[in-house]
Symmetry: C2
Subunit: 105 residues, 2 copies
């Protein structure tokens, strides 16, 4: 059993202006990660043995972004808004059922 | 098989001055992560199916830091210098053998 039961990383990278690749951090990923972190804390799921919600640097899947990855499963997601993230929280992070419609292979 | 065979996250968080908890980012973790990232690239191991080396926000194991975590295994490490990281690269990231002497449970 890993230290955290599930560990989700949100890319919040922001590329410099003028670079011709998209950036997860320009799609609201910092605010949306903060939303997930707050919801996990409110649900009493934060901490050892629970769920950890982190920012990360560039996960190098920029064209598919904004992206997040859940370990130890290694399930990758793209998402648009809080509604998508509510589904990831309730289905995957809490109930352990990956959300097929938001997964990227 | 996950998108990356192994994915290592280095906490590079720097707490504000005056906060009475240690910070991985004040232990040189950004530079040491950059060292690992460069070594993985030089070895031709970067990219899909290979090894990804990322920074992350606070992993909340501050008192045991500086810390890094390798997924999908969920193996946690503390380290001091490039010599420790060389061992993690060669033994774990390349050969798949976690380095017991640097692990934290």
């Amino acid at each position: 059993m890993s230290y955290y039961q599930r560990h989700i990383f949100f890319c919040t990278n922001v590329r410099p202006e003028g670079v011709d690749r998209p950036s997860c951090g320009r799609c609201g990923s910092q605010a949306l990660r903060d939303y997930v972190k707050a919801r996990i804390a409110e649900a009493g799921l934060a901490g050892k043995g629970g769920v950890r919600v982190n920012t990360s640097g560039c996960l190098d899947r920029c064209e598919e972004g904004p992206v997040a990855v859940v370990y130890p499963e290694g399930v990758w997601y793209t998402y648009v808004d809080e509604e998508d993230l509510d589904e990831i929280i309730e289905e995957h992070l809490v109930a352990g059922r990956p959300v097929t419609r938001l997964m990227i292979p």
